[in-house]
Amino acid sequence: MSEKSQNTEWPLWEVFYQPKDGKPFEHAGNVHAPDSEMALQNARDTYARRNEGIGIWVVPTDQITASTPEDQGPFFDPANDKPYRHPQFYSVPRVVKKRT
Protein backbone atom coordinates (compact mmCIF):
# COMPACT_ATOMS: atom_id res chain seq x y z
CA MET A 1 0.00 0.00 0.00
CA SER A 2 1.39 3.40 -0.94
CA GLU A 3 1.82 6.12 1.62
CA LYS A 4 -0.87 8.21 -0.06
CA SER A 5 -3.59 5.57 0.20
CA GLN A 6 -2.75 5.05 3.84
CA ASN A 7 -3.28 8.72 4.51
CA THR A 8 -6.72 8.74 2.95
CA GLU A 9 -7.97 5.91 5.15
CA TRP A 10 -10.77 6.77 7.53
CA PRO A 11 -9.79 7.20 11.18
CA LEU A 12 -9.81 4.19 13.45
CA TRP A 13 -12.39 3.67 16.23
CA GLU A 14 -12.30 1.17 19.08
CA VAL A 15 -15.53 -0.74 19.57
CA PHE A 16 -16.96 -1.83 22.92
CA TYR A 17 -20.17 -3.76 23.37
CA GLN A 18 -22.35 -4.54 26.36
CA PRO A 19 -23.39 -8.20 26.36
CA LYS A 20 -26.33 -7.74 28.74
CA ASP A 21 -28.06 -5.08 30.78
CA GLY A 22 -25.90 -4.17 33.77
CA LYS A 23 -22.80 -5.94 32.46
CA PRO A 24 -19.63 -3.98 31.76
CA PHE A 25 -18.77 -3.04 28.18
CA GLU A 26 -16.16 -5.29 26.59
CA HIS A 27 -13.68 -4.52 23.86
CA ALA A 28 -14.72 -6.12 20.57
CA GLY A 29 -12.15 -4.78 18.10
CA ASN A 30 -11.97 -1.75 15.83
CA VAL A 31 -13.44 -0.25 12.67
CA HIS A 32 -12.58 2.49 10.21
CA ALA A 33 -15.17 5.24 9.84
CA PRO A 34 -15.33 8.90 8.77
CA ASP A 35 -17.22 10.01 11.91
CA SER A 36 -18.90 8.75 15.08
CA GLU A 37 -22.33 7.95 13.58
CA MET A 38 -20.79 5.89 10.79
CA ALA A 39 -18.44 4.27 13.30
CA LEU A 40 -21.47 3.18 15.30
CA GLN A 41 -23.12 1.72 12.21
CA ASN A 42 -19.94 -0.01 11.06
CA ALA A 43 -19.45 -1.42 14.54
CA ARG A 44 -22.99 -2.75 14.51
CA ASP A 45 -22.44 -4.41 11.12
CA THR A 46 -19.06 -5.82 12.05
CA TYR A 47 -19.44 -6.89 15.67
CA ALA A 48 -23.09 -7.00 16.66
CA ARG A 49 -24.87 -9.05 14.03
CA ARG A 50 -25.15 -12.25 16.01
CA ASN A 51 -26.81 -11.17 19.23
CA GLU A 52 -23.50 -10.21 20.80
CA GLY A 53 -24.88 -7.34 22.78
CA ILE A 54 -27.44 -4.70 23.56
CA GLY A 55 -25.23 -1.61 23.53
CA ILE A 56 -22.22 -0.27 21.64
CA TRP A 57 -19.61 2.37 22.40
CA VAL A 58 -17.21 3.69 19.81
CA VAL A 59 -14.16 5.69 20.84
CA PRO A 60 -11.58 7.32 18.54
CA THR A 61 -8.51 5.13 18.86
CA ASP A 62 -6.22 8.15 19.14
CA GLN A 63 -8.20 9.35 22.16
CA ILE A 64 -7.23 6.32 24.19
CA THR A 65 -4.27 6.68 26.51
CA ALA A 66 -2.66 3.32 27.00
CA SER A 67 0.13 1.95 29.10
CA THR A 68 3.26 0.93 27.17
CA PRO A 69 5.15 -2.36 27.40
CA GLU A 70 7.85 -0.43 29.33
CA ASP A 71 5.27 0.37 32.00
CA GLN A 72 4.84 -3.32 32.70
CA GLY A 73 7.53 -3.41 35.43
CA PRO A 74 6.47 -0.43 37.53
CA PHE A 75 2.74 -0.91 36.86
CA PHE A 76 2.16 -4.58 37.35
CA ASP A 77 5.12 -6.39 38.86
CA PRO A 78 4.71 -5.01 42.42
CA ALA A 79 1.47 -6.97 42.67
CA ASN A 80 3.30 -10.26 42.26
CA ASP A 81 4.49 -10.52 45.87
CA LYS A 82 1.31 -9.20 47.46
CA PRO A 83 -0.91 -12.24 47.52
CA TYR A 84 -2.79 -10.75 50.47
CA ARG A 85 -4.56 -8.52 47.99
CA HIS A 86 -6.50 -11.55 46.87
CA PRO A 87 -9.31 -12.58 49.17
CA GLN A 88 -8.14 -16.19 49.16
CA PHE A 89 -7.25 -16.63 52.85
CA TYR A 90 -10.80 -16.82 54.02
CA SER A 91 -12.63 -20.07 54.14
CA VAL A 92 -15.78 -19.76 52.06
CA PRO A 93 -18.91 -21.43 53.41
CA ARG A 94 -20.04 -24.32 51.23
CA VAL A 95 -23.41 -22.71 50.49
CA VAL A 96 -21.77 -19.63 49.03
CA LYS A 97 -19.31 -21.74 47.02
CA LYS A 98 -22.18 -23.66 45.48
CA ARG A 99 -23.82 -20.48 44.34
CA THR A 100 -20.83 -19.15 42.43
Binding site: W10, V31, H32, A33, P34, D35, E37, M38, Q41, N42, R44, D45, T46, R49
Partner: protein, 262 residues
Protein backbone atom coordinates in the same frame (compact mmCIF):
# COMPACT_ATOMS: atom_id res chain seq x y z
CA UNK B 1 -48.14 -17.89 -15.10
CA UNK B 2 -49.97 -15.07 -16.80
CA UNK B 3 -48.08 -12.29 -18.46
CA UNK B 4 -49.09 -8.63 -18.66
CA UNK B 5 -52.53 -9.42 -17.28
CA UNK B 6 -51.96 -9.99 -13.58
CA UNK B 7 -55.31 -8.95 -12.23
CA UNK B 8 -56.13 -11.27 -9.33
CA UNK B 9 -59.67 -12.62 -9.11
CA UNK B 10 -59.82 -14.08 -5.62
CA UNK B 11 -58.60 -13.03 -2.21
CA UNK B 12 -55.88 -15.65 -2.39
CA UNK B 13 -54.74 -14.47 -5.83
CA UNK B 14 -54.56 -10.96 -4.40
CA UNK B 15 -52.43 -11.89 -1.41
CA UNK B 16 -50.06 -13.91 -3.61
CA UNK B 17 -49.80 -11.03 -6.08
CA UNK B 18 -49.00 -8.57 -3.30
CA UNK B 19 -46.42 -10.90 -1.77
CA UNK B 20 -44.69 -11.47 -5.08
CA UNK B 21 -44.52 -7.72 -5.72
CA UNK B 22 -42.99 -7.10 -2.31
CA UNK B 23 -40.69 -10.11 -2.63
CA UNK B 24 -39.49 -9.40 -6.18
CA UNK B 25 -38.57 -5.80 -5.26
CA UNK B 26 -36.49 -7.11 -2.40
CA UNK B 27 -34.88 -10.04 -4.18
CA UNK B 28 -33.75 -7.96 -7.15
CA UNK B 29 -32.59 -5.02 -5.01
CA UNK B 30 -30.81 -7.46 -2.71
CA UNK B 31 -29.08 -9.06 -5.67
CA UNK B 32 -27.88 -5.68 -6.96
CA UNK B 33 -26.52 -4.83 -3.51
CA UNK B 34 -24.83 -8.22 -3.25
CA UNK B 35 -22.84 -7.31 -6.36
CA UNK B 36 -20.82 -5.00 -4.09
CA UNK B 37 -19.52 -7.91 -2.06
CA UNK B 38 -15.75 -7.77 -2.36
CA UNK B 39 -15.94 -4.44 -4.22
CA UNK B 40 -17.04 -2.04 -1.45
CA UNK B 41 -15.20 1.26 -1.08
CA UNK B 42 -14.00 0.22 2.40
CA UNK B 43 -14.03 -3.11 4.17
CA UNK B 44 -16.63 -1.86 6.67
CA UNK B 45 -18.93 -0.57 3.93
CA UNK B 46 -18.50 -3.81 2.02
CA UNK B 47 -19.86 -5.61 5.08
CA UNK B 48 -22.68 -3.11 5.52
CA UNK B 49 -23.88 -3.46 1.92
CA UNK B 50 -23.67 -7.26 2.07
CA UNK B 51 -25.65 -7.09 5.30
CA UNK B 52 -28.44 -5.04 3.76
CA UNK B 53 -28.40 -7.33 0.71
CA UNK B 54 -28.84 -10.37 2.93
CA UNK B 55 -31.66 -8.69 4.85
CA UNK B 56 -33.52 -7.93 1.64
CA UNK B 57 -33.02 -11.40 0.17
CA UNK B 58 -34.19 -12.79 3.52
CA UNK B 59 -37.35 -10.68 3.35
CA UNK B 60 -37.99 -11.98 -0.17
CA UNK B 61 -37.40 -15.60 0.91
CA UNK B 62 -39.95 -15.43 3.72
CA UNK B 63 -42.53 -13.82 1.42
CA UNK B 64 -41.95 -16.43 -1.32
CA UNK B 65 -42.25 -19.15 1.26
CA UNK B 66 -45.65 -17.93 2.43
CA UNK B 67 -46.82 -17.37 -1.15
CA UNK B 68 -45.81 -20.96 -1.97
CA UNK B 69 -47.72 -22.22 1.06
CA UNK B 70 -50.85 -20.35 -0.05
CA UNK B 71 -50.56 -21.50 -3.64
CA UNK B 72 -49.80 -25.07 -2.64
CA UNK B 73 -46.40 -24.99 -4.37
CA UNK B 74 -43.87 -27.35 -2.90
CA UNK B 75 -40.93 -25.32 -4.03
CA UNK B 76 -40.67 -21.67 -2.98
CA UNK B 77 -37.44 -21.42 -4.99
CA UNK B 78 -39.59 -21.65 -8.09
CA UNK B 79 -40.43 -17.96 -7.76
CA UNK B 80 -36.81 -16.86 -7.70
CA UNK B 81 -35.26 -19.31 -10.12
CA UNK B 82 -37.80 -20.51 -12.63
CA UNK B 83 -39.74 -17.43 -13.65
CA UNK B 84 -38.68 -15.33 -16.65
CA UNK B 85 -38.25 -11.57 -16.62
CA UNK B 86 -41.76 -10.97 -17.93
CA UNK B 87 -43.19 -12.68 -14.83
CA UNK B 88 -41.17 -10.67 -12.34
CA UNK B 89 -43.20 -7.94 -10.67
CA UNK B 90 -40.45 -5.72 -9.28
CA UNK B 91 -40.26 -2.04 -10.12
CA UNK B 92 -37.56 -0.95 -12.57
CA UNK B 93 -35.67 1.14 -10.00
CA UNK B 94 -34.30 -1.94 -8.26
CA UNK B 95 -33.14 -3.71 -11.42
CA UNK B 96 -30.97 -0.86 -12.75
CA UNK B 97 -27.24 -1.70 -12.75
CA UNK B 98 -25.53 -1.00 -9.46
CA UNK B 99 -23.64 2.00 -10.86
CA UNK B 100 -21.19 3.75 -8.56
CA UNK B 101 -21.46 3.92 -4.78
CA UNK B 102 -23.46 7.17 -4.96
CA UNK B 103 -26.05 5.58 -7.25
CA UNK B 104 -26.33 2.54 -5.01
CA UNK B 105 -26.87 4.77 -1.98
CA UNK B 106 -29.38 7.06 -3.72
CA UNK B 107 -31.43 4.04 -4.79
CA UNK B 108 -31.27 2.36 -1.39
CA UNK B 109 -32.32 5.61 0.27
CA UNK B 110 -35.33 6.27 -1.99
CA UNK B 111 -36.44 2.65 -1.78
CA UNK B 112 -35.92 2.37 1.99
CA UNK B 113 -38.02 5.43 2.80
CA UNK B 114 -40.79 4.03 0.63
CA UNK B 115 -40.44 0.61 2.31
CA UNK B 116 -40.51 2.23 5.71
CA UNK B 117 -43.81 4.08 5.17
CA UNK B 118 -45.31 1.13 3.29
CA UNK B 119 -44.50 -1.36 6.05
CA UNK B 120 -45.48 1.09 8.75
CA UNK B 121 -48.98 1.31 7.24
CA UNK B 122 -49.11 -2.40 6.38
CA UNK B 123 -48.51 -3.63 9.92
CA UNK B 124 -51.44 -1.46 11.03
CA UNK B 125 -53.68 -2.75 8.25
CA UNK B 126 -52.93 -6.39 7.44
CA UNK B 127 -55.25 -8.78 9.28
CA UNK B 128 -53.61 -12.01 8.13
CA UNK B 129 -51.55 -12.92 11.20
CA UNK B 130 -48.70 -14.78 9.55
CA UNK B 131 -48.25 -12.06 6.92
CA UNK B 132 -48.38 -9.37 9.57
CA UNK B 133 -45.79 -11.10 11.75
CA UNK B 134 -43.45 -11.25 8.79
CA UNK B 135 -43.93 -7.56 8.06
CA UNK B 136 -43.16 -6.58 11.65
CA UNK B 137 -39.89 -8.45 11.52
CA UNK B 138 -38.90 -6.84 8.24
CA UNK B 139 -39.79 -3.35 9.46
CA UNK B 140 -37.06 -3.41 12.12
CA UNK B 141 -34.43 -4.09 9.49
CA UNK B 142 -35.87 -1.52 7.11
CA UNK B 143 -35.42 1.16 9.78
CA UNK B 144 -31.73 0.33 9.81
CA UNK B 145 -31.46 0.36 6.00
CA UNK B 146 -33.00 3.80 6.00
CA UNK B 147 -30.62 5.08 8.65
CA UNK B 148 -27.59 3.67 6.83
CA UNK B 149 -28.49 5.12 3.43
CA UNK B 150 -29.73 8.46 4.78
CA UNK B 151 -26.49 9.09 6.66
CA UNK B 152 -24.56 8.36 3.48
CA UNK B 153 -26.71 10.71 1.38
CA UNK B 154 -25.90 13.50 3.85
CA UNK B 155 -22.19 12.75 3.78
CA UNK B 156 -21.87 12.38 0.02
CA UNK B 157 -23.99 15.45 -0.72
CA UNK B 158 -22.23 17.65 1.77
CA UNK B 159 -18.82 16.02 1.30
CA UNK B 160 -16.19 16.66 -1.37
CA UNK B 161 -16.83 18.25 -4.78
CA UNK B 162 -16.61 14.84 -6.40
CA UNK B 163 -18.95 13.08 -3.94
CA UNK B 164 -21.46 15.95 -4.28
CA UNK B 165 -21.39 15.76 -8.06
CA UNK B 166 -21.77 11.97 -8.08
CA UNK B 167 -24.72 11.84 -5.68
CA UNK B 168 -26.43 14.72 -7.53
CA UNK B 169 -26.06 12.83 -10.82
CA UNK B 170 -27.34 9.66 -9.16
CA UNK B 171 -30.57 11.34 -7.98
CA UNK B 172 -31.04 13.05 -11.37
CA UNK B 173 -30.63 9.71 -13.14
CA UNK B 174 -32.89 7.66 -10.88
CA UNK B 175 -35.71 10.17 -10.55
CA UNK B 176 -37.74 8.96 -13.55
CA UNK B 177 -37.97 5.56 -11.86
CA UNK B 178 -39.50 6.86 -8.62
CA UNK B 179 -42.98 7.27 -10.12
CA UNK B 180 -43.50 3.50 -10.11
CA UNK B 181 -43.27 3.37 -6.34
CA UNK B 182 -46.71 4.99 -6.22
CA UNK B 183 -48.39 3.25 -9.17
CA UNK B 184 -51.66 1.56 -8.24
CA UNK B 185 -53.73 -0.89 -10.27
CA UNK B 186 -56.65 -3.36 -9.98
CA UNK B 187 -54.54 -5.84 -8.04
CA UNK B 188 -53.86 -3.16 -5.45
CA UNK B 189 -57.55 -2.36 -5.15
CA UNK B 190 -58.52 -5.98 -4.54
CA UNK B 191 -55.75 -6.46 -2.00
CA UNK B 192 -56.73 -3.22 -0.26
CA UNK B 193 -60.34 -4.37 -0.09
CA UNK B 194 -59.25 -7.55 1.70
CA UNK B 195 -57.02 -5.62 4.14
CA UNK B 196 -53.88 -7.12 2.62
CA UNK B 197 -52.33 -3.96 1.25
CA UNK B 198 -52.49 -0.20 1.54
CA UNK B 199 -53.01 2.57 -0.98
CA UNK B 200 -49.47 3.39 -2.08
CA UNK B 201 -50.54 6.71 -3.59
CA UNK B 202 -51.28 7.93 -0.06
CA UNK B 203 -47.63 7.36 0.93
CA UNK B 204 -46.22 9.89 -1.49
CA UNK B 205 -46.54 13.09 0.61
CA UNK B 206 -44.66 11.55 3.56
CA UNK B 207 -42.06 10.01 1.27
CA UNK B 208 -41.57 13.30 -0.55
CA UNK B 209 -41.22 15.20 2.71
CA UNK B 210 -38.35 13.04 4.00
CA UNK B 211 -36.65 12.97 0.60
CA UNK B 212 -36.85 16.76 0.25
CA UNK B 213 -35.64 17.41 3.79
CA UNK B 214 -32.72 15.03 3.43
CA UNK B 215 -31.67 16.32 0.01
CA UNK B 216 -31.86 19.91 1.21
CA UNK B 217 -29.75 19.11 4.24
CA UNK B 218 -27.28 17.33 1.97
CA UNK B 219 -27.18 20.39 -0.36
CA UNK B 220 -28.49 18.25 -3.22
CA UNK B 221 -30.82 19.84 -5.76
CA UNK B 222 -34.22 18.09 -5.71
CA UNK B 223 -34.98 16.71 -9.18
CA UNK B 224 -38.15 17.84 -10.93
CA UNK B 225 -41.18 15.58 -10.45
CA UNK B 226 -42.66 16.99 -13.63
CA UNK B 227 -40.73 14.75 -16.02
CA UNK B 228 -41.23 11.46 -17.88
CA UNK B 229 -41.86 8.69 -15.36
CA UNK B 230 -41.15 5.06 -16.20
CA UNK B 231 -44.00 2.63 -15.52
CA UNK B 232 -45.28 -0.86 -16.31
CA UNK B 233 -42.75 -3.05 -14.48
CA UNK B 234 -45.35 -4.53 -12.12
CA UNK B 235 -46.98 -6.03 -15.20
CA UNK B 236 -43.74 -7.38 -16.63
CA UNK B 237 -42.56 -4.52 -18.84
CA UNK B 238 -38.98 -4.36 -17.60
CA UNK B 239 -35.84 -2.55 -18.69
CA UNK B 240 -33.16 -4.42 -20.63
CA UNK B 241 -31.19 -4.81 -17.38
CA UNK B 242 -33.37 -7.42 -15.69
CA UNK B 243 -32.68 -10.23 -18.18
CA UNK B 244 -28.89 -10.35 -17.67
CA UNK B 245 -29.38 -10.11 -13.89
CA UNK B 246 -31.73 -13.11 -13.92
CA UNK B 247 -29.41 -15.04 -16.25
CA UNK B 248 -26.67 -14.72 -13.69
CA UNK B 249 -28.90 -15.36 -10.68
CA UNK B 250 -30.81 -18.31 -12.15
CA UNK B 251 -28.20 -20.04 -14.28
CA UNK B 252 -26.90 -22.56 -11.75
CA UNK B 253 -30.29 -23.57 -10.43
CA UNK B 254 -31.64 -24.06 -13.93
CA UNK B 255 -28.65 -26.01 -15.21
CA UNK B 256 -28.65 -28.26 -12.10
CA UNK B 257 -32.34 -28.35 -11.15
CA UNK B 258 -31.98 -31.46 -9.00
CA UNK B 259 -28.87 -30.37 -7.11
CA UNK B 260 -29.13 -30.44 -3.32
CA UNK B 261 -27.15 -29.00 -0.44
CA UNK B 262 -25.14 -31.81 1.15
Amino acid sequence: MSTFDTTPETKQDAIVEVMLRLADDRLIHGHRLSEWTGHGPELEEDLALANVALDMIGHAASLYSYAAELEGNEDEDYYAYFRDDIDFKNIAMVELPRGDFAFTIARQFLFSIFSYFLYFELVKTVEDEQFNGMLRKHLKEIKYHLRHSREWVLRLGDGTDESHQRIQEAFDEIWMYTGELFDKDDADDIAIKHKLYVDVTSLKPEWKKIVDETLEEATIEIPDDDQFMYSGSRKGRHTEHLGPLLAQMQFLRRSQPDAEWK
